[in-house]
């Protein structure tokens, strides 16, 4: 009789664990498929020449924090459009995905436009849980840093090219 009872119990138990309930288990603690996808197939991994005048490099984060992102943009000088992007990231899956998404979104856009990208957009796109929001924050910082670096380089070049007003030494070519 005990045997019958336990057999019944086992069949009830297995019925209760059917996949029907699995859909309700999508809590914030799972890796969103998009994050895993970006990890498995990251877009735009690579490096541009830092010294190339059309390249802006943003390096943010620190190894001590466990997150370092290097995001680079190649800008068309005349139109101010970002024609190519690449990134390298030392960080968790969410950090890699955030920077990968960032490079995707800014490709083909104007520099001023990409400064409006918010970390919350990236976080929403990847369904990042609260504990990973700082990864998207860092990606936003990386975009801004890359743009700033390009603009700084451009300004410096223009500064060097323009003739100095008050007799400073110039390179006579």
């Amino acid at each position: 009789m005990l045997g019958q009872f336990t057999r019944g119990l086992v069949s009830v138990a297995s019925a209760m664990t059917q996949p029907k309930t699995a859909g309700l288990l999508l809590t914030s603690r799972l890796y969103h498929e998009k994050v895993v996808e970006h990890y498995d197939n990251p877009r735009n991994v690579g490096s541009f020449d830092k010294d190339d005048p059309t390249v802006g490099t943003g390096l943010v984060g620190s190894p001590a924090c466990g997150d370092v992102m290097k995001l680079q943009i190649k800008v068309d000088e005349n139109t101010g459009k970002i024609v190519d992007t690449c990134f390298k990231t030392f960080g968790c899956g969410s950090a890699i995905a955030s920077s990968s998404v960032a490079t995707e979104w800014i490709k083909g856009r104007q520099m001023e436009e990409v400064l409006t990208i918010k970390n919350s957009d990236i976080a929403k796109h990847l369904s990042l849980p609260p504990v990973k929001l700082h990864c998207s924050m860092l990606a936003e910082d990386a975009i801004k840093a890359a743009v700033k670096d390009y603009q700084k380089k451009k300004a410096k070049r223009e500064d060097n090219n323009s003739s100095p007003p008050d007799g400073q030494a110039t390179v006579v070519g």
């Binding site: 895993v36 984060g61 030392f90 968790c92 890699i96």
Partner: protein, 439 residues
């Protein structure tokens, strides 16, 4: 074992790209957004271990028809249950060189640690106000000490050396006339380091201070004798040595006697130290696991050492920038805690989804702090983020190790290609010279 099936399924994958085993529609397992070809290889033996089939065999009768409460004095169900519990007690005692009367069943090593530390200090609180422990102890020991601090006791957390071992001089300097207990774990769960218990025991005995050790990761794996180690209290856990989860034991020396204040009030079971019905099937399981461990310890150690060496050589022959955390000499063979420079731990784990291992990385703990054990070793913060702990056990196979090597090397190489730190190092830049932009 079941994990061999995962190896067989994953084995005929193409090795293009970094992802292995994912992408086959309709097959495999989908969990937490991650697709896997089958169940992952289990290499996390420090977290828990599979129940040995022989242990399960020993336990089943006590779930089926011999289900009596061991404290029922009036009928056969109780007597046979009690007999089984006492036999298990004997088996556990034999493993550590103790007397059966000195073994108390608990719900696990955490409870045993609580009883030992809080129980001893509460009992002797009139004369003893001071506790000594280490910075690398298990959370339950550290939390019990913190609890005592809130009650007004004083606690010294001894630092450890770079190799994870304590410095005897520090211990000697820390001891006071009002020190009630010293608690130092025998084998560390994160880095596998073995402390010099005999030396520590000698010192504590001479100074008449109780010595407690958390031997959850040690008993059944390395030879242990409570008399050689001169310990007064020892915590044991069943599910670390192929036994069931939910049961552990506390060894309490009788000569000279250790007294504790009970943490559980109730019917006075287990000599009044731990009230509550002793779960017979679990106790039987723990006893069986201990007996098997005692008989097979030598063989297990030899077998596991071979696999660990294979894993270590396999990885380091294909990758550089790999560091072992903790002493290589004084170490349990089944624990290999490696740091992979310039690669972050959680991202490595994501790539190693076909291998079940754990990491000392911040991202994998609930807080964003990297492992406190690695920090205590003086591991630099960026390296603490890169550690992976491989746990090898009795049922690990050579094929699993080879697959783990292949997966680890592939993923580390992929992540290094994606890492700005690796790129900078290749260019000859000294990372320490960089001014990082904090956010």
């Amino acid at each position: 074992m079941a994990t061999a099936a995962a190896v067989a399924v994953v084995g005929d994958d193409d090795h293009s790209g970094g992802g292995s085993g994912g992408g086959r529609e309709g097959e495999g397992v989908m969990m937490k957004g991650v697709h896997m070809a089958g169940r992952p290889l289990y290499l996390d033996m420090q977290a828990t271990s599979p129940v040995d089939p022989r242990v399960l065999d020993a336990m089943l009768p006590y779930y089926m028809d011999q289900f009596g409460n061991p404290h029922s004095r009036t009928h056969m169900y109780g007597w046979e249950s009690d007999e089984a519990v006492e036999k298990a007690r004997e088996q556990i005692a034999k493993l550590i060189g103790a007397n059966a009367k000195e073994i108390i069943f608990t719900s696990g090593a955490t409870e045993a640690n609580n009883i030992a530390i809080k129980g001893v200090m509460h009992f002797y609180k009139d004369k003893k106000k001071h506790v000594i422990t280490t910075q690398t102890e298990h959370k339950c020991v550290l939390d019990s000490c913190r609890h005592l601090q809130q009650e007004g006791f004083e606690v010294t957390y001894l630092p450890v050396r770079k190799d994870g071992l304590i410095d005897m001089e520090e211990l000697k300097a820390a001891i006071r006339p009002d020190t009630g207990i010293v608690s130092i774990m025998t084998v560390n769960n994160e880095i596998g380091v073995i402390q010099p218990m005999a030396e520590i025991g000698e010192f504590c005995r001479k100074n008449k201070v109780f010595l407690h050790t958390d031997a959850a990761q040690a008993a059944g794996k390395i030879p242990i004798s409570v008399d050689d180690m001169k310990v007064d209290l020892m915590s044991l856990s069943a599910h670390k040595i192929y036994g069931p989860k939910g049961v552990g034991a506390l060894y309490m020396r009788r000569r000279p006697r250790v007294r504790v204040e009970a943490q559980m009030s109730g019917g006075g079971q287990e000599r009044g130290i731990r009230s509550g019905t002793v779960p017979t099937p679990l106790a039987v399981g723990m006893g069986a696991a201990c007996e098997i461990a005692m008989e097979e310890m030598e063989h297990d150690e030899k077998y596991i050492k071979e696999l660990t060496d294979r894993l270590y050589k396999g990885i380091t022959s294909q990758l550089d920038g790999v560091i072992v955390n903790g002493s290589l000499e004084h170490r349990y063979v089944g624990n290999l805690n490696l740091s992979f420079a310039y690669v972050e731990g959680e991202s490595l784990l994501m790539g190693l989804k076909e291998v079940a291992v754990s990491s000392g990385s911040a991202c994998t703990s609930a807080s964003l702090e990297p492992s406190y054990v690695l920090r205590a070793l003086g591991v630099e913060e960026d390296m603490a983020h890169t550690s992976i702990r491989f746990g090898i056990g009795r049922f690990t196979t050579k094929e699993e190790i080879d697959r783990a090597i292949q997966l680890t090397v592939d993923q580390v190489q992929k992540l290094r290609n994606m890492s700005p730190l690796w790129e900078m190092v290749q260019e000859g830049i000294d990372l320490k010279s960089i001014q990082w932009a904090q956010h």
